[in-house]
């Protein structure tokens, strides 16, 4: 009996370790080769060098693409957070029937195939520019608008549940005590939503960083590149410069550090909550 328990434990560890190896070997190989002068991954490693990192900071196209990616991510996440949070508050006070309709419409871009959403934006631009003769064109701003639209529902999904947990009496108390509705909203409700808004912002930001299809279709002709489209075009046309490995290493490190910090903070918060609950009881 004891033997079969330890055997099944070994099998379980084996499953986890095999899959973890499959997940991480490609990533670690890129990290390792970011310190090698080799032309491509798998070539003779050569000597340990940081030359790819200095090459990265000389590659203006790649730096531009990275800058665009971050700019699009931050600006669209900012607007998505503002739109999504105000929407969540408004929807919260809607009558049930209206709310069902609005909730359903907010799901459209979430469940739709990305390519359909992408060409929808493309056709909208044609419509605005050619049918309505508005002075607009495919640009960085257009991609920011598109990313804002596709990430806002995720902010809404993050903020809404928090809103439902709030104590409605607090807002009423604030208004009974003479604060106007706007002031009550900003000084009583928004601070309680701050945590959910930060989560929503982070989610919108990472979704924007990960996007390829929307950017690819809507940058046709404008020549705007993000990291995703840069690699895609590199594979298909001019080849990927080796300094992309240095960029990958930087991104892996940033992701790893921020996730560890995020989880450490979250665990600590949870422990503190448990402790204070224990004290009350």
């Amino acid at each position: 009996m004891k033997k079969s328990v330890s055997f099944s434990l070994a099998v379980k560890w084996a499953i986890l370790i095999v899959v973890l190896i499959a997940i991480y070997v490609p990533l670690l190989m890129i990290v390792a080769y970011s310190f090698s002068p080799a032309q491509s991954v798998g070539d003779d490693f050569g000597g340990f060098t940081a030359s790819l990192f200095s090459k990265l900071f000389e590659n203006e196209d790649l730096l531009k693409a990275t800058g665009n990616t971050l700019l699009i991510g931050v600006v669209s996440a900012f607007f998505a957070t503002a739109l999504g949070t105000t929407a969540a508050i408004g929807i919260h006070y809607m009558r049930r029937k209206t709310r069902t309709v609005v909730d359903a419409s907010s799901q459209i871009t979430v469940v739709n195939a990305e390519i359909v959403t992408a060409i929808g934006f493309y056709l909208l631009m044609l419509f605005l520019r050619e049918t309505l003769s508005l002075p607009v064109n495919f640009s960085l701003l257009w991609i920011i608008v598109a990313h804002t639209v596709i990430t806002t529902p995720y902010v809404l999904l993050t903020v809404s549940p928090r809103l439902k947990q709030l104590n409605p009496n607090l807002l009423e108390a604030s208004m009974d005590l003479g604060a106007g509705p706007m002031r009550s909203l900003f000084t009583v409700m928004l601070p309680q939503l701050a945590g959910a808004m930060v989560s929503g912002f982070a989610l919108a930001f990472t979704l924007s960083l990960d996007d390829f299809v929307i950017t690819n279709i809507n940058s046709l002709g404008s020549g705007i590149e993000t990291i995703s489209t840069f690699i895609y075009d590199g594979v298909r046309k001019k080849g990927i410069p080796s300094e992309i490995r240095a960029l990958s290493t930087i991104i892996f490190t940033v992701v790893l550090v921020s996730l560890i910090v995020y989880n450490a903070v979250k665990n600590k918060k949870r422990q503190n909550e448990k402790q204070s609950k224990g004290e009350i009881q």
């Binding site: 739709n112 195939a113 359909v116 690699i231």
Partner: protein
């Protein structure tokens, strides 16, 4: 002048969002319909559909996409379920860093991950082609398949399992009669997280596949690149119908709309 009584009507807060949804979500869908059903003379016509589907390659592309999506989703599920099961079981459920390790790649730009995977496949001698593309799909979508299954397995009430064991069922029977049925909503959620998105994943098939492996998203993108907006819209319309069909099936099976795994982590 008499001051109007202040009416607190915060529903107005949703108006900017509703306006954005109308202009940037509803209008584009209408435009796709218009372009799909507009003939060369501007009148209503099925011409675009006739043109697009008289090309046997487009019909085959739909079939191939469904095949690629079904196969890669199935492989992903077969790998993800045991991993989720082990992660949710004792003693692994007490090591939070372990489950985190499996979903970290979700936060790394997917194109960089595909580039990394492609480099590895090059090194170990798997050439671009059908199976490389399938491996790419499985690698890319794995965390999205794992997370909903893991979440639901972790939240199964352990007393059900104890009751089953107390009543004399062995672990195989407990799994088949208790764990598996209770985890089905997670499985369906994972499948829907992967199956439809594969249709748009032309980056993976173009980077890792060959001439014969391309998804319908690639076809739509190339029609738009060639400024055939009518044909591209017609294909998109068919894809849209497919999305609705798959969503309805998913809703019938689970009774609720699918949530995104990234949303679950953020909360």
């Amino acid at each position: 002048m008499r001051k109007k009584p202040t009416v607190f009507r915060p529903t107005a807060f949703s108006f900017p969002y509703l306006a954005v949804t109308l202009v940037f979500v509803i209008v584009p869908l209408v435009l796709i319909l218009v372009y799909a059903f507009k003939g060369e003379d501007g009148a209503f016509s099925f011409g675009n559909f006739v043109t697009v589907f008289s090309d046997p390659e487009n019909v085959r592309s739909f079939g191939k996409t469904i095949g690629i999506a079904a196969l890669s989703t199935a492989i992903c599920l077969v790998i993800a379920y045991p991993v989720a099961f082990v992660l949710a079981s004792s003693p692994f459920d007490r090591i939070p860093i372990l489950s985190l390790l499996f979903v970290i790649p979700m936060w790394i730009n997917f194109m960089l991950r595909i580039f990394a995977l492609q480099s590895l496949l090059d090194v170990i001698g798997i050439n671009q082609g059908f199976w490389a593309a399938i491996i790419g799909m499985v690698y890319d979508f794995f965390p999205y398949m794992l997370l909903p299954i893991y979440t639901i397995l972790k939240n199964i009430d352990k007393s059900y399992l104890e009751a089953s064991r107390d009543l004399g069922a062995n672990s195989t029977k407990t799994f088949l009669k208790i764990t598996l049925p209770l985890s089905l909503p997670g499985v369906i959620s994972g499948i829907s997280m992967m199956f439809m998105p594969v249709f748009s994943s032309y980056a993976i098939t173009k980077m890792m596949g060959d001439m014969n492996t391309s998804v319908i998203g690639a076809k739509i993108a190339s029609l738009f690149e060639a400024h055939d907006f009518g044909g591209g819209s017609a294909l998109s319309f068919v894809l849209l119908l497919l999305v609705i069909a798959v969503m309805l099936i998913g809703k019938l099976a689970t009774g609720k709309t699918v949530k995104t795994p990234k949303g679950e982590i953020a909360q």
